[in-house]
């Protein structure tokens, strides 16, 4: 590389939705400067508008907002809101990018987010964030947790320039004459996540959207469900604001519809409609919910289980019928739809409200952006990517993911974001750390011996808390408690501007301890702890009172009692915090090497990427050769040659001198913790110890071995993989008369394995098309339960039908039968449209077999101390936002070990694991949390109960001289201790205390209640 094209240690991320946020955080944590470019006033994207997320029903904003704050306060991330990319020059490693910064008319550095300006603004316009179901002012903040928290003025026709806001603003932050700015930035790589816009339902006008007031889109319904939404979370219809008795969802509005250039499946609607129906039931159990669909596409991890729950537990009604038009009763504004029931009867049913499950259109800004960045799009206007290089755009150095490269849900967007980071980080590994700043904290104030001075901050959480609990009353009460010198209430204590308020209060009132009464410490404690640390207080001089999840949410109907309970909880927290002492963090050295378990495709991609990012890797494979399940896959749906890719990958991995490969090796023991693992492997009956800082689990899965349908008894019954091999190795002849019957869901979606194996529908279609390529007239039948060709795979489903492949649906309780009639193979299946049985003579019966978890998973999960889910696959830390992490730091998961998936998805996850591991390996040292167990050696009897109980192996018992007497005492390794408290609870002599949760603190807390 010559001097003019020096690599730059900075990356631009375009798009501030959850994908762009994750990419920015991963890169910033791996030593790169990040410019996060967002066209709107705030980052957050569509996820900020959602009420809950499937399949865990987590509150969307609650899991997103800590990430927003983290982004805003990260020293390596520069937020460029109201910005758009104008042009790009240069090449991979060194791009010069012009960015246009549209005026916000408010100085972000001065605005405190107090909202006085909006209070006086006389102009009201429809609020986009509320999907136009409510109004906002011309000067506004899109939502309370918006990041940055500053307001902005809408001058595209809304602002009347009356200057009232300028007069009202005490911070003098309003600049009505702010001008557009051009910014030039120099970066080494670009990551593009422009996201999506929802389909405009007026394009399918027969559904009456915009005409009938009680027909809403699914995203509008998210706002209706949201507690902070236009109707405060009450499910009401728009015409009369009354609670509807019957709501129906219409699926595939703007999806699977080639008539309106949206032939693809939007991948997420079946699940979000189910979620909405389920949450509706939780809001008002009397509302009857119905979902009209074509195929139920619950292809993801835990999805089918979620649908079953909706059906059985919540009585959501599912009807397989695509609705073709909607009529309105002009008097009642009820909606009438006509559909054919599965028994063939045509019925007209009336609903009070209809939700259109609108599909995902690629972001309307994508076309323009792609032109400016000079990257290629596919026929639908999404980024064109290859199945085997799913994160690379057509231009080197520019990576893409999220919905931009195809409809996908949140975890897959987050995965692709981390994955794209791995590629950018590999490209720029030589300049890692060159443009970043160290985070500097003020020195910690010594508060030992000082009388506690406690500040209490009570959160309204919009109306989540404030709508039930009388928050001002709680604040007044808090002021009367011992040691409390300051108390206030906040609309959202977690918002960006409140963090500054807290810091100011600490300084102004010389606070030395802080209590926040809000939601759960699970999501928000680190945020507040960081805030008080920035104000010079030790992180542990802090306590949270959970007055939302454990109070306002459960006592919604008893506001008076809830207010009393909030007072109790605050009093308890205040009592506890007054006893709290500062706890130190421990800094540890780390080993900058990775261990990858499993030498299949995912494992190899992870290992290669980590090596390219500059770290040594141990790659351990139990078989004699690398390749895993991919050895049996010859081509992808799009036609890419998998074997060629695989052999190239093996060559790259074996020739990379940073990767140390151990084949025919098994894992015997894994000790240690993040940054400092010691793994013993068995290799040719000898043991070898490996030291490393992170672990990537890529141990794969197996193909289900069928026992049904004469498999193993008649050689004409084969698995889908065997068929693929026969086709690829040209060992199969098909004639015009050949009849090939494929049966789906063998070993999937059954009692034994209740999950969907995700790939089988597309694999069957892939091979059916290959057969059709051999002979156009060959008869191929696919017997299915739901065709789950999500995303652009739907195009191939259409192609297969176009070429005459016949799809026949069957029900789980009326499975097809395969029998021998003399030596003829016959398949009998009930046709559900004709209500008659079909008898098909078959030359070949092909079973689409499940992907089942590896039998080694159990042992490996115990060695790693990480969990498996009910189905036996590894369970990630969080289904939505930590899709490749384990709850245990430093351990990650990708590929089939996580769940069944396609090659491109495995590759994305493998890259994501490399990026996540890099956030650890790139550090100089690790800081370990100070909440650890501590043994009082005087009291300890050395009974060893704690050692047996500790799930992390953090306790040893040793012989020690205590007060001149030698005795056995327990010793805690603070680096291994997770602070779970199991030892403390079990100790019979009461000699173990958990720092920050000591007996005296807990007892005082309880004492304050009783």
């Amino acid at each position: 590389m010559d001097e003019n094209n020096k690599k730059i240690g900075a990356v631009m991320v375009v798009g501030g939705g959850i994908g762009g946020i994750q990419a920015s955080l991963d890169l910033a944590e791996s030593g790169f400067k990040v410019y996060l470019v967002e066209k709107n006033l705030s980052i957050g994207g569509v996820m900020a508008q959602l009420d809950k997320t499937f399949p865990t029903n987590d509150c969307s904003m609650c899991i997103l907002s800590p990430k927003l704050v983290e982004c805003a306060r990260h020293r390596n991330i520069e937020l460029l809101t109201r910005c758009e990319v104008e042009s790009i020059e240069g090449s991979a490693g060194n791009f010069k990018i012009k960015v246009k910064k549209h005026p916000r008319f408010v100085d972000v550095s001065k605005c405190t987010g107090c909202g006085d300006c909006a209070e006086v603004c006389p102009v009201e316009v429809p609020d986009e964030y509320e999907e136009n179901l409510a109004n906002r002012k011309a000067i506004y903040r899109p939502f309370p947790q918006a990041t940055p928290g500053a307001f902005g003025i809408d001058k595209s026709g809304a602002c009347c320039e009356c200057m009232q806001c300028e007069k009202a603003c005490k911070a003098e932050a309003i600049l009505h004459n702010m001008l557009e700015q051009d910014i030039e930035l120099n970066v080494g790589s670009v990551i593009v996540f422009p996201g999506f816009d929802e389909f405009e339902p007026k394009l399918r006008e027969e559904y009456g959207y915009g005409l009938f007031s009680n027909v809403v889109t699914s995203i509008e319904f998210e706002r209706i469900l949201s507690a902070s939404g236009p109707f405060q979370g009450h499910v009401v219809r728009c015409s009369d604001k009354k609670t509807p008795k019957k709501i129906a969802w219409i699926q595939c509005v703007g999806s699977r519809d080639s008539k309106i250039e949206r032939g693809y499946c939007s991948s997420v609607c079946c699940m979000y409609a189910t979620k909405q129906a389920l949450i509706t039931k939780e809001h008002s159990p009397d509302i009857r919910t119905t979902i009209f669909y074509i195929d139920m596409r619950a292809y993801g991890k835990e999805f089918d289980r979620y649908i079953e729950r909706a059906k059985l537990e919540y009585k959501v009604r599912y009807i397989r019928s695509r609705i073709s038009e909607v009529k309105e009763d002009a008097k009642t504004h009820n909606l009438k739809i006509k559909y054919e029931r599965e028994d063939g009867e045509l019925v007209t049913e009336e609903f009070d409200m209809l939700v259109l499950s609108v599909g995902l259109d690629v972001s309307r800004s994508a076309k323009d952006l792609a032109e400016k960045l000079n990257i290629n799009l596919n026929s639908y206007g999404f980024a064109r990517v290859d199945s085997l290089e799913p994160l690379k755009t057509s231009r080197p150095g520019i990576f893409a993911g999220g919905v931009f490269s195809g409809p996908k849900d949140i975890p897959e967007t987050v995965t692709s974001a981390s994955g794209a980071c791995a590629l950018a980080s590999a490209l720029l590994s030589s300049v890692r750390g060159t443009l970043v700043a160290e985070k500097k904290y003020p020195a910690e104030k010594d508060v030992s011996g000082d009388i506690p001075r406690i500040g209490v901050f009570v959160c309204q959480c919009g109306i989540n808390i404030g709508g039930v609990v009388n928050v001002p009353l709680v604040v007044e009460y808090a002021k009367t408690l011992p040691f409390v010198v300051y108390a206030e209430d906040n609309l959202y204590t977690c918002s960006q501007d409140t963090q500054d308020t807290i810091k100011e209060a600490i300084a102004q009132h010389s606070l030395n301890r802080v209590v926040v009464a809000s939601c759960t410490p699970r999501t928000h404690e680190p945020l507040f702890q960081e805030t008080i640390r920035e104000a010079g207080l030790n992180r542990h001089l802090f306590e949270m009172a959970n007055i939302r999840d454990q109070n306002s949410w459960v006592h919604m109907k008893q506001p008076r009692e809830a207010t009393e309970k909030a007072k109790d909880l605050v009093r308890m927290a205040v009592a506890k915090v007054s006893l709290k002492e500062p706890l130190g963090r421990i800094s540890l050295k780390l080993t900058s090497r990775g261990l990858v378990i499993g030498g299949g495709l995912a494992g190899m991609v992870s290992a290669l990427r980590l090596a390219e990012e500059g770290y040594e890797v141990y790659l351990v494979e139990k078989e004699d050769t690398l390749g895993g399940q991919a050895k049996d896959i010859y081509y992808t749906l799009k036609g890419e040659d998998v074997q060629k890719f695989l052999s190239k990958l093996i060559e790259k991995v074996t020739s990379n001198n940073k990767i140390h490969i151990f084949t025919a090796a098994t894992i015997e023991k894994i000790e240690g913790f993040v940054g400092n693992f010691k793994t013993t492997i068995k290799l040719n009956s000898s043991l070898k110890e490996l030291e490393h800082g992170a672990v990537i689990v890529a141990s794969g899965a197996n193909e289900y071995q069928p026992t049904e349908y004469l498999f193993g008894k008649d050689k004409r019954v084969v698995t889908q993989r065997k068929l693929e091999e026969l086709i690829a190795t040209k060992k199969l002849n098909v004639s015009n008369q050949s009849s090939i019957v494929m049966i789906q869901c063998i070993g999937s979606r059954c009692d034994e394995n209740p999950y969907c194996s995700r790939v089988c529908c597309s694999e069957a279609i892939k091979n059916a098309l290959a057969l059709k390529k051999m002979n156009k007239q060959v008869n191929v039948y696919i017997l299915y339960r739901d065709v789950r060709t999500y995303g652009f795979k739907e195009d191939w489903y259409q192609k297969a039908r176009e070429q005459g492949v016949l799809f026949i649906r069957y029900e789980e309780d009326d499975k097809p039968e395969v029998k021998l009639n003399k030596d003829k193979l016959e398949v009998l299946v009930k046709d559900l449209i004709l209500e008659e049985k079909l008898l098909i003579s078959a030359d070949l019966v092909v079973l689409s077999t499940a992907t089942v978890p590896s039998e080694d998973n159990k042992e490996l999960s115990q060695l790693l101390k990480v969990p498996l889910n009910e189905d036996g696959f590894f369970m990630e830390a969080h289904a939505k936002l930590r899709p490749v992490d384990f709850a245990t730091d430093g351990i990650f998961v990708c590929g089939l070990a996580h769940s069944p998936k396609f090659i491109e998805e495995s590759i994305c996850q493998a890259n994501a694991c490399a990026a996540r591991a890099c956030t650890i390996l790139s550090r100089d040292e690790l800081e370990v949390e100070g909440i650890v167990a501590e043994v009082n050696e005087l009291k300890c009897k050395g009974c060893r109960l704690c050692k047996e109980i500790c799930p992390y192996g953090a306790i040893d018992v040793e012989l020690k001289k205590v007060l001149g007497k030698e005795k056995e005492v327990a010793r805690v390794n603070p680096a291994l201790c997770k602070g779970c408290g199991a030892c403390s609870a079990s100790c019979r002599s009461g000699s173990i205390d958990l720092k920050g949760f000591s007996d005296s603190e807990i007892l005082t807390q309880i004492g304050a209640l009783v």
């Binding site: 038009e325 009529k327 045509l346 489903y797 799809f807 649906r809 449209i833 004709l834 008659e836």
Partner: protein, 232 residues
């Protein structure tokens, strides 16, 4: 195994090439795209009164190769090809054209429906010879009547007519259909012609730009010219 009372369709006895034959006919190209979502059947206005109108089932039978049954089905012979099904189909399966394709294959192969055998000619029949084929041209010649022949009977107008909710006589689609067919006397004597308040919503929603408001005026002009007055 199968219970004896359930009919078993043996695919080996069916014509597996039937779907390809239909594909070759104009308009039949997309038949195999069908994924049986049911939009067509849900949209078919005739299905409501006659369950033999079941496009999804017929398409499925054709795909399976049940040629005889399809030929003998009343649907393919009775379907008036008014395309609501096609309009609603997300996969572009042109059912009206397919019905006509099937008819032409059937006739080529010497199959004709036996009128004795079906219930269709028991119903009232409108004799084309008795109608005024010129009527639609007369209307087209009037100002605002130009687009009348564009009507593809999608029903948007009727669906949209606010009066229709309370009074069945308000049926613009039927009315336009009668004009196109030339049912002059029935048109002139219809209550709708003289009741319609021509407030334009039908015309606004018409995807084909049929200006029903102007057509009403045009018809009233012609009717008055020929000496007709309101029957009301």
């Amino acid at each position: 195994m199968a219970e004896p009372q359930v009919k078993i369709i043996r695919l080996s006895e069916l014509d597996l090439n039937f779907k390809y034959e239909i594909q070759k006919e104009p308009g039949g190209e997309n038949i195999t795209r069908c994924f049986a979502c049911g939009s067509c059947t849900n949209a078919c206005p005739i299905r409501e009164i006659d369950e033999k109108y079941n496009p999804r089932k017929i398409i499925h039978m054709a795909l399976l190769g049940m040629k005889d049954e399809v030929f003998k089905s009343e649907f393919v012979w009775l379907c008036s090809s008014h395309y609501t099904c096609f309009e609603r189909c997300p996969q572009g399966v042109n059912i009206g054209a397919i019905a006509s394709a099937v008819r032409s294959i059937a006739i080529k192969e010497g199959f004709y429906p036996d009128p004795q055998d079906s219930s269709w000619n028991e119903q009232e029949v409108i004799e084309f010879d008795e109608l005024d084929q010129e009527l639609k041209y007369k209307v087209a010649a009037e100002e605002g009547g130009e687009n009348i022949s564009r009507c593809f009977a999608c029903g948007s107008c009727t669906a949209m007519c606010p009066e229709r909710e309370r009074d069945e006589r308000y049926n613009p689609r039927k009315f336009i259909r009668m004009i196109i067919l030339g049912m002059k006397k029935e048109v002139f004597q219809s209550d709708f012609l003289w009741l319609c308040s021509t407030h334009y919503r039908c015309a606004q929603r018409c995807p084909q730009g049929v200006n029903i408001k102007e057509i009403m005026n045009a018809i009233k002009n012609i009717a008055t010219g020929e000496g007709y007055t309101s029957p009301l």
